[in-house]
């Protein structure tokens, strides 16, 4: 039983695989499905680079086994990206210097997607608190926070129009 079947819907597409129990969801996404947008930094739940949505909730994919995701819907950064363009949040990162090397960016985008869904008008403090579980080691957080607040504004404007 060190191998188990798992059925996971990722970005709307159903996948069925037989995997080792110890395979993390992050390695499943990257190595089994080739979705390398989910980055792995620390692999012990500190850096947040591997954050994905599991049934809509932000989750560290390095702290969950693929077999635990059996029956779940997973959304990765690829699933947040519209065909042939960028999402409002992604564009706000580009416009506000919210990324430099890009390593932490997928985790930031996924975490902020959940935040903005739950709280369309976050304060700067709320954005900073939501991002405490995502480490950035180059751009710095100022641009990322600015991008999040800008995206929230753009999404509210779009909702209002």
């Amino acid at each position: 039983m060190s191998k188990q079947p798992t059925r996971v819907t990722v970005n709307g597409k159903a996948h069925a695989r037989i995997v080792e129990s110890r395979l993390t969801l992050a390695d499943f996404l990257r190595h089994e499905l080739g979705l390398t947008g989910t980055h792995l930094g620390c692999e012990h739940g500190v850096c947040g680079a591997c954050t994905v949505l599991v049934d809509g909730h932000s989750t560290r994919a390095c702290l969950m086994f693929a077999v635990q995701a059996n029956g779940c819907e997973v959304t990765t950064v690829e699933g947040l990206t519209p065909d042939g363009g960028l999402s409002v949040l992604q564009q706000a990162f580009v416009d506000n210097h919210g990324l430099q090397c890009g390593f932490c960016t997928p985790g930031m985008l996924v975490t902020l997607t959940e935040l903005l869904r739950e709280n369309p008008s976050p304060s700067e403090d709320e954005v900073r608190e939501a991002l405490t579980g995502n480490l950035c080691r180059c751009t710095g957080y100022a641009g990322i926070v600015k991008a999040a607040l800008d995206a929230a504004q753009r999404l509210r404007d779009r909702q209002g129009s």
Partner: protein, 293 residues
């Protein structure tokens, strides 16, 4: 793949899980996995079997019965943080949960997992200590109820036998209108607290304290109730000098010393944070006391 190989079991019934824990050698319980999986990734923990409790419906839910709030052990921390019943009946728990790890870990981490892991800096054991929670412990021998003071047995140690699991947590509901306060100090929000304080105050006519509870996390090897502080509060009219006196009673606690903070600094933090938690609790109970520190 970072963890050592293991066999994975996903029981759907509590009884099935109890049987697996009683028969499988070197088995570990997988609750939210937010502490266990990092330890497995580092190979600090090597288990031959993981019993995942995530699929057991009996371990979920929040119910209010006869003055007690019962929380299923597999309730996610974030679910509790946002649950209307918790905010209404045990608001101290809701406030403390906002300090537990990060949003992503609270989405997975469970209340039962946190109590069983028993990290001395963890917020939820301190909340259970303040409430005199009753822990429902399940095994093939049935369910036994353990008062939290007997459940917590020392540094990362609990009364759980290797084949036992937490099924539910009972918290007594304090009178409506009581006050609560939770303060902690960590280097960054979401880090392990160097120290934290949880306070409950029930205040009657003429601002006399009818009932008080004060507990600390991160200070000693396990969460501590500061009974000396409670004794100073109960029966006295509440004002800032009483809060100062009660907080000073935390000097009796013997703090731990580690690379993050020395014992003297933790003792200082315990006093300051207790005063702030008690002040918040007093204000929420309708007594306008000035901040003492």
């Amino acid at each position: 793949m970072k963890p050592a190989p293991f066999d994975y079991h996903a029981p759907r019934q509590l009884k099935e899980a109890a049987e697996l824990l009683a028969t499988l050698p070197n088995a570990k319980i997988l609750a939210g996995g937010q502490s266990l999986v990092p330890m497995m990734n580092f190979r600090y923990v090597v288990a031959d079997h993981l019993v995942d409790l995530g699929g057991i419906a009996d371990l979920r839910g929040i119910t209010v019965v006869d003055g007690w709030l019962r929380i299923g052990a597999m309730m996610r921390q974030r679910e509790l943080e946002t649950a209307a019943e918790i905010a209404q009946y045990c608001p101290l728990l809701a406030e403390a949960l906002r300090h537990v790890g990060h949003r992503q870990t609270r989405n997975r981490g469970t209340i039962g997992g946190s109590l069983a892991h028993a990290d001395p800096a963890a917020e939820l054991p301190a909340v259970c200590a303040a409430y005199d929670a009753v822990i429902h412990v399940a095994s093939i021998r049935g369910i036994r109820q353990v008062p939290f003071k007997d459940f917590s047995t020392g540094f990362m140690a609990t009364a759980l036998a290797p084949d036992e699991m937490i099924a539910a947590i009972d918290l007594p509901v304090w009178r409506q209108g009581h006050g609560h306060g939770f303060h902690e100090f960590a280097r960054r929000h979401g880090d392990f607290a160097l120290a934290g304080a949880a306070a409950l105050l029930d205040i009657g006519a003429s601002n006399v304290v009818r009932r008080a509870a004060l507990s600390l996390c991160g200070v000693a090897a396990a969460p501590v109730r500061v009974e000396a502080a409670e004794a100073r509060l109960v029966g006295q009219p509440l004002d800032s000098s009483l809060i100062r006196s009660a907080a000073a009673a935390t000097w009796l606690v013997e703090p731990i010393s580690d690379i993050h903070a020395g014992a003297e600094y933790r003792r200082h933090l315990a006093q300051v944070l207790s005063a702030r938690a008690l002040t918040n609790a007093a204000r929420r109970a309708g007594v306008d006391v000035p901040r003492v520190i």
